[in-house]
Symmetry: C2
Subunit: 271 residues, 2 copies
């Protein structure tokens, strides 16, 4: 083998390894193990085309998390792959963990002995906060299809949603610290039993009140409904220290908590 040829092969090997390292860096899907070499050309073309798209979709996602966006019905068409990768890859889990850690730090900083009246409260939303509907949204293009209440209800009454693990950890910590837990959800009263079953099955063992939309709440925005319910809680004498939700409509409005924690959700928007 000539020197040039040997060098070429060595260089080739080096670059194969280099590209493999890059691939590992940029495509850490949990559901898409890939044969790197075979799929590389196609993948590269895709990546090269989609740099601008990736930046735009990141910007769009961050703008949503910062509550800068107008209400939207579906995710931008160009962001379907981005949102899928985000939800199934490590980023979503890591961000949930980071925010729950912040919330737990705040919870443990609250002086629950100040009044000793058992009126220190924490509110949790349910969907995409305690329970994950990701299997449903994976079947419905990650938020790029218009939301279908009937289809979603079918999924809900299966009662198969699993716990969002960082939230379960926070939940147990908040319970342990002695907060009263209020579950405040946009689900309607007719889903009470299946919601209770699902929560218990997912590991949420104990709460003080589960508040769902009653007949009188239909037609109200989530902001209005949840503000009203918080008003009732506050008027009973509770101090709402923390509130955890994946929608800004869980957190804003009136009678807001001392500190709110917005969990990531790039798949849908509720006003």
């Amino acid at each position: 083998m000539s020197l040039l040829r040997r060098n070429s092969v060595l260089l080739l090997c080096f670059f194969l390894l280099s590209v493999a390292a890059f691939c590992e860096h940029t495509h850490t899907y949990t559901d898409l193990p890939r044969s790197l070499i075979i799929e590389l050309p196609q993948k590269l073309e895709l990546e090269s085309d989609s740099l601008e798209v990736r930046l735009r979709c990141t910007g769009w996602r961050v703008a949503g998390e910062a509550n800068n966006l107008s209400p939207w019905k579906t995710i931008p068409e160009e962001c379907v792959d981005y949102v899928k990768e985000y939800m199934l890859g490590p980023s979503y889990q890591l961000e949930l963990q980071l925010v729950s850690d912040e919330a737990a730090r705040y919870a443990s900083s609250v002086d629950l002995n100040e009044y000793e009246d058992g009126m220190d409260a924490w509110i949790f939303d349910i969907d995409e906060t305690l329970l994950s509907n990701l299997p449903y949204y994976a079947q419905h293009a990650y938020g790029s299809e218009i939301f279908d209440h009937n289809q979603f209800d079918k999924w809900v009454i299966e009662g198969m949603a699993s716990a969002i693990e960082p939230s379960l950890k926070l939940y147990n910590e908040v319970l342990r610290l002695g907060f009263k837990i209020f579950l405040l959800t946009g689900r309607s009263e007719d889903k009470r039993d299946i919601t209770v079953d699902n929560l218990i099955k997912a590991g949420f063992q104990k709460w003080d009140r589960l508040i769902l939309r009653g007949a009188e709440d239909h037609g109200k925005t989530a902001v209005a409904f949840k503000s009203e319910k918080r008003k009732e809680i506050v008027e009973e004498g509770f101090r709402i220290h923390g509130n955890t939700g994946d929608q800004w409509s869980d957190l804003i409005g009136s009678f807001i908590s001392v500190k709110s924690f917005k969990l990531s959700n790039p798949m849908y928007y509720i006003s």
Copy 2:
């Protein structure tokens, strides 16, 4: 040249191009033109080490934009490179543009003819909202050094801060639509003249009121100071439709605007 050798060379060329494409994808600095081939091995090693760091820093940045973080004095040490890349690369500009576009869309949806009393207001913060202090922060490790008031004041009185272009565009649009513009800044009164000079030099030609911290405002948090000033504005009869700032303390508290627009800022946090 043998077939194998010719194929090796062809493959090598292909992978060189592939790696170049990847490099272009992942490292779009504006200030760091790089000779891709020579620096590649070093760069790859760095990237491979820093995947976890990049995910953590993205999560930290998003959590900040969603107002989930406790007050912080410096950025996480491991995120210095990340924040630098973010600020100097295309992402920061793209996100500013996206949020300003949203704000302009909202501004144009407000019916300014409803009252015809000239009392429709829009508030802008100044630093990192209208004017960019990036040259200062680039000299001070992008927020990883504890903030030094004296050093920063020296930069401010140079009056050299440039316009944040997407904000200038929004500003001119908001003016054109007929809003009254209030500039509400944490800068103190002794910076009034240089601030006016700098704003005009940067292209902000006209506003209705420039509100700085007076002697009586020292020691107040930004949330308290800005809420008080908004209270005065509202009590004069103005309707605050929009508020644009890079800090949550520009936007939250009392007498908040109908719609707030949080511009990205991963470099510092003001309570």
